[in-house]
């Protein structure tokens, strides 16, 4: 133990003396840069301490600025998200407005083209039950609507007014199973009656077996029903089948997409048949 203490003491003394010599030498010797080695070494060590301190302080400052910046970015992000949501809503509104404008333009073109007195109306509600294909429009008797007035759209015939109120009206769609419209094949002028099937299709009835009807033929209103003006598109023939009887079995695809209908025109001008009936009643 005593030997160990002696060795340890000798080691400590040795290291102490060596360190003293190094300091002594360093104080006298200039480095290549001309600066004393002791000064250079002290400066080097202190510079590393300074570098470490600066690095720590820089890290803290960077972290702090990052934290503050992150908070600002978060707040800014929230503002931008809000602005983006508002912009998306505004864009949707503008898009909807543009679509509505285009729809109205088509309606105006249709009105000009048809030379009929019409009233533009907006669909405000769908039918209460799927058994009856009806919609509610925002125009009523105040705007001159009456029952059995035709309702049309730029793409084709929509239906007829069945129950008008003062400011609204119920419109029976052409696809309703109780709906019917006098029709004819535009190409061959073969006449028939188009009725609703309760689904997305129309049936063309009372078409003679000898009538010239082919797939893809355009079906238009004939005007003989006294409700729908003549010449408006109902749809296209989808299938033509022989039923074995006197009439063909014809399926028609409506020209109007009833699922995306938004604006319609109500034809205020009475058809000749209706006008004659009114004059007869008076």
């Amino acid at each position: 133990m005593a030997l160990l203490d002696t060795r340890q003491r000798a080691g400590y003394v040795f290291l102490f003396v060596i360190l003293g010599h190094v300091i002594l030498i360093s104080a006298q010797v200039n480095a290549k840069s001309g600066v004393p080695v002791l000064e250079a070494a002290a400066f080097g060590v202190f510079a590393e301490v300074q570098r470490g301190t600066a690095s720590i302080l820089g890290g803290i400052r960077h972290a702090w600025s990052g934290y503050v910046g992150l908070r600002q970015v978060r707040a800014e992000n929230e503002v931008l998200r809000r602005q983006l949501a508002e912009a998306e809503i505004a864009l949707q509104e503008q898009t909807a407005l543009a679509d509505r404008t285009r729809g109205l333009e088509r309606l105006l073109e249709l009105r000009d083209r048809s030379n009929l007195l019409t009233a533009a109306a907006e669909i405000i509600a769908a039918g209460a039950t799927p058994d009856f294909r009806t919609v509610t429009i925002d125009k009523g008797t105040r705007e001159g609507l009456r029952p059995d007035m035709a309702v049309i759209a730029p793409s084709g015939v929509v239906g007829r007014v069945v129950v008008p109120s003062a400011s609204a009206a119920k419109v029976q769609l052409l696809i309703d199973r109780n709906a019917a419209v006098g029709a004819l094949i535009e190409r061959s002028r073969a006449q028939a009656v188009v009725v609703g099937a309760g689904d997305e299709w129309l049936r063309m009835e009372y078409v003679s077996e000898v009538a010239d009807v082919a797939q893809g033929d355009v079906v238009v209103t004939s005007g003989i029903d006294g409700i729908y003006p003549k010449g408006f598109i109902i749809g296209r023939v989808e299938t033509v089948e022989k039923s074995g009887g006197a009439y063909k079995r014809i399926l028609v695809k409506p020209a109007v997409d009833f699922s995306s209908l938004e604006e319609v025109l109500v034809v205020l001008t009475p058809t000749p048949a209706r006008k004659a009936a009114e004059e007869h009643s008076q």
Binding site: T6, R7, R9, A10, I18, H21, L24, I25
Partner: protein, 169 residues
């Protein structure tokens, strides 16, 4: 006490070294009496005695020279410490081991001394292997002789006294 005597011996060695250097300029390179004293003190007194003797002797030697103060001291401190360690770890009581220790100690001193100068880019030294080897040899011889003289000197005195006594009778 050992350290004090070692320091005193180092002072005497310095005086001898400087005296001989004035008389025989080239001969001083053959033997470094100060280094011999340091190694001797380390072998007889241990590491602390060796390093303290080396520190003192080296620093004084440095101050008396034109070199950097501390390099010689550092070299002799290291040599003194190592020699002291060797003296405590191994049996160095015969002439041959002592010769080896003195020889190697001189080599180590030269390596540290010249190495520091080269490392600090203070002076350009040409390879002086022969000079270092010669000095190592000279130091080893002087060291072994010094050991023998010191060990034989007390007995010789006693024997001389005893011989004088027999002659008078």
């Amino acid at each position: 006490m050992k350290a004090a005597r070692a320091v005193l011996a180092a002072a005497l060695a310095l005086a001898l070294q400087t005296t001989l250097a004035r008389v025989v300029v080239r001969g001083t390179d053959v033997v470094d009496f100060v280094l011999v004293v340091v190694v001797y003190a380390a072998l007889t007194g241990g590491p602390i005695t060796g390093l303290l003797t080396g520190t003192f002797a080296g620093l004084v030697q440095d101050t008396l020279s034109t070199g950097v103060v501390g390099i010689g001291g550092l070299a002799k401190t290291i040599v003194g410490f190592l020699a002291g360690v060797v003296g405590t770890q191994f049996i160095v009581a015969q002439p041959v081991p002592r010769f080896v220790v003195f020889f190697v100690a001189t080599i180590v001193h030269a390596v540290v001394f010249y190495g520091l100068y080269i490392l600090l880019d203070l002076r350009q030294f040409k390879p002086a292997y022969a000079a270092v080897a010669g000095q190592a040899l000279g130091n080893a011889v002087v060291g072994v002789v010094a050991f023998q003289l010191v060990e034989l000197l007390p007995g010789a005195v006693e024997r001389r006294r005893a011989a004088r006594t027999r002659i008078r009778r």
